[in-house]
């Protein structure tokens, strides 16, 4: 269970500005959940302006914090939406 799981998280709008990038690389371990991903991101420089529980999408769908990540998943951290 300690095999590494590299994840590239897409960033948009205010989150992309906070991190100064449109994506960030995070190294998790196999079996990691969305919650683990958020913990890792929140410890990175630029995360000061992130809310405690940002929304996350996995494979272009909103994901629960319990969802387990798999190699190849498309992951994105979603700022509060403002369409319409």
């Amino acid at each position: 269970m300690n095999a590494p799981l590299p994840v590239t998280a897409l960033l948009f709008a205010s989150y992309a500005e906070s991190f100064g990038a449109s994506s960030i690389e995070v190294c998790l371990s196999r079996g990691a959940s969305v919650a683990d991903l958020v913990s890792a991101i929140r410890s990175m420089p630029g995360a000061e302006r992130l809310p405690p529980r940002p929304m996350v999408a996995v494979n272009q769908r909103y994901a629960s914090y319990e969802q387990i990540l798999h190699p190849g998943d498309e992951v994105a951290v979603i700022p509060p939406v403002a369409g319409g």
Binding site: A13, S64, I78, P79, P80, V81, G84
Partner: protein, 151 residues
């Protein structure tokens, strides 16, 4: 099978086109919703805005919302366009047209689409103000609050 279309577009939206698209002799009730860029927000004068989006997910989510609306409201004809890119005050940001034989179905579908789209579509708005500043709407203020309902 009635007509259904949902697109993100980077050119001006013409609501009349969407109305014409859903109309048919079998569907006597047609309704539309059009959202335009307002000249002020939170007391500040707005000059324009820029929509950024997570395109693949936004297209998927928009198609999902339209499919849900068709399922819940008796398969109305539906056409939806959401603009991305740079908009000026008065420009159409979103247009929805729904048609059905019964008006409750057309109106219900239109309302479902606009409400869900506002909640779920991964699109962000960078407002440009008359004083030269810019701000991500919903972003900075919501970011300081707990997003407990996020997941």
């Amino acid at each position: 099978m009635s007509h259904a279309r949902a697109d993100l577009v980077d050119r001006p939206i013409d609501p009349a086109t969407l109305l014409a698209e859903v109309a048919s002799p079998a569907r006597g009730a047609i309704c539309s919703f059009v959202g335009t860029v307002r000249d002020q927000h939170g007391g500040r004068a707005v000059t324009g805005l820029q929509y950024d989006c997570y395109q693949a997910m936004a297209e998927r989510e928009l198609a999902l919302i339209v499919a849900e609306a068709r399922d819940r409201f008796g398969e109305p004809a539906l056409a939806v366009e959401h603009r991305v890119g740079t908009l000026m005050v008065g420009d159409v940001a979103v247009a929805i047209a729904a048609a059905h034989a019964r008006r409750a179905n057309a109106i219900g579908a239109m309302q479902y689409v606009i409400e869900e789209l506002k909640k779920r579509l991964p699109i962000w708005k960078l407002e440009h103000y008359a004083d030269g500043t810019r701000e991500w709407v919903g972003g900075s203020s919501a970011m300081s609050e707990a997003a407990g309902a996020a997941a």
